[in-house]
């Protein structure tokens, strides 16, 4: 067993410990309910914890399988996310081919480039080539009604669901001297600090939150966000041993990732509000769609990738 696998196993055990505690808490609350009484909040909580078990198992297995596992899991996550996003965007008959290309050409090619570690290609493929070619494909079918809205929404879907998410497995191709072949731990670090930052932001927001930052969009509060960011920084510092960042660097990186994650959450709340939906789909029991789960990671991943690359990679 290599050091990396060992560390991954340790992290998984830690997360499983937390999930065991959350599961037991759910059962305790359930047992305290008078027999036959329904409690929808508790039902949702328990379904969510169950979904969390599945997600943690999937991510742990994928990361232990190395680069191929990470790329494959992200590929399928991108596919599901893109499907949820494009279901709600503006489209016309003339866009059929460009949308098919988005799913069946752009998405696989982006992950192929990531898998090859071809940095100069995967960072421009969607922002440049897909950006230029897909509108041409739509235009050739000649249907001008709401053209700009259609191509812009398709491009946004690709940027967020494919381009941004592909930066998670792309962390594996960074050349960081202190890390050797253990970059996979950076993925674990990113996901853990962003997700726990979200959870704690929500938790603190419910308890000490007063001033909403965008009252029309989301219940997020200034107090909750600050507490969430500090918690994320603390978790990051505690996990500094799996990173090349050092204690302070790890706290800063965690706070930066978490900040962008929370902002991503806000942006997605605005999109959902505009389209009149609460959830992106019903794929994950208790949580809604893949995008409900991933929105913060999507925003955090490119920033985390580039900060790591500029400061620590050679």
């Amino acid at each position: 067993m290599t050091q990396t696998t060992m560390n991954l196993a340790l992290l998984s055990l830690g997360v499983c410990g937390i999930l065991v505690a959350l599961s037991i808490l759910g059962e305790v609350l359930r047992a305290r309910l008078p027999a036959g009484q329904a409690n929808p909040v508790l039902d949702t909580y328990q379904t969510r914890v169950q979904s969390w078990w599945t997600i943690v198992a999937l991510v742990a297995i994928a990361l232990m399988a190395g680069q191929f596992g990470a790329v494959l899991l992200s590929f399928f996550a991108s596919f599901a996310a893109l499907r949820e996003f494009l279901t709600l965007t503006t489209k016309a008959r003339a866009d059929h081919l460009s949308l098919a290309l988005a799913f069946f050409a752009v998405l696989p090619l982006q992950y192929l480039f990531v898998w090859m570690g071809w940095h100069s290609m995967f960072t421009v493929f969607i922002p440049v080539y897909a950006f230029l070619v897909l509108p041409v494909v739509s235009a050739l079918r000649g249907q001008p009604a709401r053209f700009l809205i259609r191509v812009a929404e398709t491009q946004w879907a690709l940027m967020i669901c494919v381009f941004c998410l592909s930066h998670v497995p792309a962390l594996l191709s960074l050349d960081i001297p202190q890390m050797g072949d253990s970059n996979v731990l950076l993925i674990a670090f990113l996901i853990l600090v962003v997700q726990f930052g979200d959870l704690l932001e929500y938790w603190f927001g419910r308890r000490i939150g007063k001033h909403r930052i965008a009252p029309e969009l989301s219940p997020k509060t200034r107090e909750g966000m600050i507490a969430g960011l500090l918690s994320a920084a603390a978790i990051g510092a505690a996990l500094h041993w799996i990173t090349p960042f050092g204690v302070l660097g790890a706290a800063g990186m965690a706070a930066a990732a978490s900040l962008f994650g929370m902002m991503g959450h806000l942006v997605f709340a605005a999109i959902k509000r505009d389209r009149g939906v609460r959830d992106w789909s019903h794929l994950i029991p208790g949580q809604g769609g893949v995008l409900n789960q991933l929105d913060s990671v999507l925003f955090a991943a490119p920033v985390f990738y580039h900060l790591t690359r500029y400061i620590w990679a050679t």
Binding site: R83, L86, T90, A100, G276
Partner: protein, 217 residues
Amino acid sequence: MKSLMSFARAFAANIAGHALRLFALFVTAARADWRGVGPEPVQRVYYANHTSNGDLPMIWAVLPAALRRQTRPVAAADYWLKNRLRAFCGRDVFRGVLIDRRPEVNDNPMDKILAALDEGSSLIIFPEGKRNMTDDPLLPFKSGLYNIAKARPDVDLVPTWVANLNTIMPKGEVIPLPLICTVTFGAPVHVAEDETREAFLARAGQALADLRPEDPA
């Protein structure tokens, strides 16, 4: 020997059915929204909007196994018997009630439909009669739905809206888009004692159109 062949055929039809269902679920993450009725195994006529040849497999895929086994689609024989593969799907996988639309054939489609109902099957029908290529949500219904409602007043007529399929697989396109498809089942309708054909068909059409999700754009 003959029984072995029919066993093999039924077995192959089951496997093909599962494969088709899994494919539909993988591509479109199809989901049933049981809004007006629950997924109970009672006899029903699911009447649905028709925009794409994928409508039928989609409804079929989201039905729970017990309901799926007792549900048969009413479909056009000229389409489903065109070649051997389609005939296998139409006759063996979907166990369709196949209606011959040719004018020179003189059999009454209602006989076949009522016979299927009388043996206990639920049905899937597309009362618009053909695929809707217009921008209107629904074409005017043909009389079949009214005739069924009159002939078998106890059977629940369940409006079934298939969302998004005209974008997933428009007529003339080859590659389906993997967007999410939701099948919404509404509250059952029955024909009233003194209701006219036109009034009933309009009411049933409205009940179906009401299930349509709002246009996101």
